[in-house]
């Protein structure tokens, strides 16, 4: 990066009042700023959703506890689930994709910058609308405030008879609005990848982050839309007197389940595929080897995308489908283990024989590999219909999917923040604080979610408000709650690290990790226009070629 580019940025930043900078941030169409806004917004909701989880866990710490009322408890688990899925993980993934994809493919911005800003603000207002329900949800009815129908909002719980007031409407409209935002961003990511790549950046040379963002966006288009349609039907039922999910007029509650899980299962892969992307960028750099089996990784990702659309009813084995449907959904669920297993072997193959550096981002990714494997194994157990009949709706399921969402996805997100924070701010995150965060979080995570399997196996149902003593659940619930607090402390340390390092962190320079993708060729943080001259690439590792002109990758392509 030439020095005049940096000089322009500094001159730009100087002499602006805070009102002007705030105005700049609110009206921005720059993909980097929108990416950071997405991530900050998600961090805010991570704290809120985390506090809700703490309320749930304090309530369950001992039998017959009454820390909160049953009504508040129902609101807490509904809001916790909805917040974490729609307003934490999805925005954070969109944030990273927004920030990184244009930089990685050598573009100056996303394909549709204004659509990008519009999508972000839709998502943002969706989240604020959901939380406004605490104030406005009771409307004139004096009945309930925040949504308390669970994050699946099964019919007929959402009908007027069982959800008077406006709480269910806030849930529906918040999810609907943020869904439109997601579809806009997904469209943008795909158009950017198809139409904005720099010369030489063929699809086969694109960083895996690009490929996986594309598959994730494709899944968003195909699976968020059914949720949108189902939400419209729910609004028709609630406001126009329709009968879609009204069993008394011949409607079907099971149809809502199908529509919800047609969204719900691909959604898991919308969340986890970007986590795979982070691992696929971080593991090679800290193993000092290019990714092992690039084409197979791409094929496995696309394969997962396709298979994930045909497994949804494994969430519904207990509603009594016929044996042909049960068999089909068991088999497709098992099939998804194949491409996923391929990925795990490829990451291990990347590390094998490499000079592994256990910096904080790498630590999180290594933990991800182990935890994702275990999450997959309990997934296979739950994917077998007979086992599922026994344990569906128990804490075993909760433990399984938190192993995916916390143990795999959140770990990769932490890794990604440690890895790209220097690019976004120009400062390194504190390494020893980071390692402390990692170890505390690992211990807290395993204390909570390893042990949570056991009360599930002992028959403790999910969403239960309290329980009788003497069933052997007490000690597990106590330990699980202690683990939650360890995780909360670790996250506080992480947030403190983000703030302190922003002001006091070591200067990062352009390329602190000696990495190989194009974002590290720009300054830290990159200028508004990213690249003074659009780069040209000749291999999958353009910065390696630049640093090693005597032995470029392009020679072996």
């Amino acid at each position: 990066m030439s020095s005049d580019a940096i000089a322009i940025r500094v001159a730009d930043a100087g002499g602006r009042t805070w009102v002007e900078s705030l105005h700049d941030w609110i009206t921005t169409v720059d993909h980097k700023r929108l990416g950071i806004l997405y991530i900050l917004y998600a961090l805010l909701f991570l704290v809120i959703g985390g506090l809700e989880a703490l309320v749930i866990r304090i309530q369950l710490i001992r039998p017959h506890n009454d820390f909160v009322s049953p009504q508040v408890f129902n609101r807490m688990f509904t809001m916790h689930g909805t917040t974490m899925i729609f307003f934490v993980i999805m925005p954070v993934m969109f944030g990273f994709a927004n920030y990184l994809v244009p930089l990685m493919i050598g573009a100056r911005d996303m394909a549709f910058p204004r659509l990008n800003a519009f999508s972000f603000w839709l998502t943002a207002f969706g989240g604020f609308l959901l939380y406004f329900s605490f104030l406005g949800g009771s409307g004139l009815y004096g009945a309930g405030s925040a949504p308390d129908v669970g994050w699946w909002a099964y019919a007929p719980l959402t009908s007027r008879a069982f959800s008077p007031g406006h709480s269910a409407d806030y849930w529906t409209i918040a999810v609907l609005v943020s869904g439109f935002g997601s579809i806009g961003t997904a469209t943008n990511i795909i158009a950017t990848i198809f139409s904005m790549r720099c010369p030489g950046m063929t699809l086969g040379r694109m960083p895996l982050m690009g490929w996986m963002s594309m598959v994730m966006s494709g899944l968003v288009l195909i699976s968020i839309s059914p949720l949108t349609a189902a939400q419209v039907m729910l609004i028709v039922d609630r406001y126009l007197g329709g009968h879609f999910f009204d069993t008394q007029a011949g409607g079907s509650a099971a149809l809502w389940m199908h529509f919800f899980w047609i969204f719900g299962h691909p959604e898991v892969y919308i969340l986890v595929i970007p986590a795979f992307a982070f691992a696929s960028e971080i593991i090679p750099v800290f193993s000092r080897k290019p990714i092992f089996g690039y084409p197979v990784m791409v094929a496995a990702t696309v394969g997962i995308g396709f298979i994930s659309m045909s497994v949804w009813a494994h969430h519904m084995f207990t509603i009594g489908m016929n044996s042909a449907s049960n068999t089909f959904f068991v088999l497709t669920t098992m099939a998804i283990a194949v491409p996923t297993g391929i990925k795990i072997f490829n990451w291990l193959g990347t590390m094998w024989g490499g000079k592994i550096q256990f910096k904080t981002p790498m630590l999180f990714c290594v933990a991800f590999l182990f935890q994702f494997l275990i999450a997959g194994l309990t997934g296979i157990m739950l994917g077998a219909a007979p086992f599922n009949w026994q344990l569906s709706g128990s804490y075993f399921v909760i433990a399984h999917f938190h192993y995916v969402i916390v143990g795999s996805i959140l770990f990769c997100i932490f890794g990604a923040v440690y890895y790209w924070y220097p690019k976004m701010t120009g400062r390194m995150l504190n390494e020893s604080l980071g390692k402390l965060h990692f170890w505390l979080f690992v211990i807290g995570f395993h204390l909570t979610f390893d042990l949570m399997h056991i009360p599930g196996l002992l028959g403790m149902p999910r969403r239960i408000y309290t329980y009788e003593p003497g069933r052997g659940w007490e000690i597990w619930n106590l330990l699980v709650t202690i683990g939650t607090f360890l995780q909360a402390i670790a996250i506080l340390m992480f947030l403190a690290n983000l703030v302190v390092s922003y002001f006091k962190g070591a200067e990062a320079g352009n390329d602190p990790w000696d990495a190989w993708t194009l974002e590290w060729s720009a300054s830290s943080p990159p200028p508004v226009y990213n690249f003074a001259a659009i780069p040209t690439v000749e291999s999958r590792r353009p910065l390696w070629d630049r640093k090693h002109p005597e032995d470029p990758d392009s020679r072996y392509d």
Partner: protein, 198 residues
């Protein structure tokens, strides 16, 4: 930017990528198709399950004329686009207006049918399952036609003002993709509602 990587620069013009507007519209069409699929599935799943009348067999009349209007508007918009590429302004405006009128006629047909169903047969969205699924599926399509007509109208006004030329043909092409999609959806909706679902 260091120039070290810029060695072996590409031939100018050798690097061609698809137009972002087309890719974006294709994405929107994929998402919209998924939405329509869910509504069509709901329509078929509930066909014949209403607990009370009126039933589709009693009240629906096949809107053949208005269907022909909508489907032929796909042809007119296609030729309007070709005229624009060739730079024939008059041809473009005429065919574009014809597309708008055909789309408007279709919407009028839907309105007429709804008026008849509501006032003669007493079928509303809350009457029975058929009403709920029929009005939401056909209404969702009519909503897309309305959005399309608004956009067609805006382009027509710009065209009258002389602001739409051959250099805008790629953008006009994006709008025409949307219009073709709306027509294609009608083929599915028509088949399901007026043929299969009766």
């Amino acid at each position: 930017m260091s120039n070290a990587t810029l060695s072996m620069a590409q031939e100018p013009g050798a690097w061609k990528l698809p137009y972002r507007g087309k890719v974006g519209m294709a994405c929107l069409i994929i998402a919209e198709s998924a939405i329509f699929t869910i509504f069509v599935v709901a329509y078929l799943y509930y066909a014949g399950r209403s607990l009370s009348g009126p039933t589709p067999r009693e009240v629906l009349e096949t809107p053949i004329f208005f269907t022909i209007c909508l489907l032929s508007s796909s042809l007119t918009i296609h030729f309007a686009e070709k005229c624009l590429e060739r730079g024939s302004r008059g041809g473009f405006l005429g065919l574009w207006l014809l597309t708008f009128i055909l789309g408007g006629l279709f919407l009028f047909g839907t309105a007429q049918e709804w008026h008849r169903l509501i006032y003669e047969h007493g079928l509303t969205i809350s009457t029975n399952l058929f009403g709920t699924t029929y009005y939401s599926l056909v209404g969702l399509h009519a909503f897309h036609v309305t959005v399309g007509l608004i956009m067609l109208g805006i382009v027509f006004l710009f065209g009258l003002a002389g602001r739409v030329g051959a250099e805008q043909s790629a953008r006009v092409g994006v709008l025409s993709m949307y219009w073709h999609f709306v027509d294609a959806v009608w083929v599915v909706v028509f088949t399901m509602v007026y043929i299969v679902g009766r």
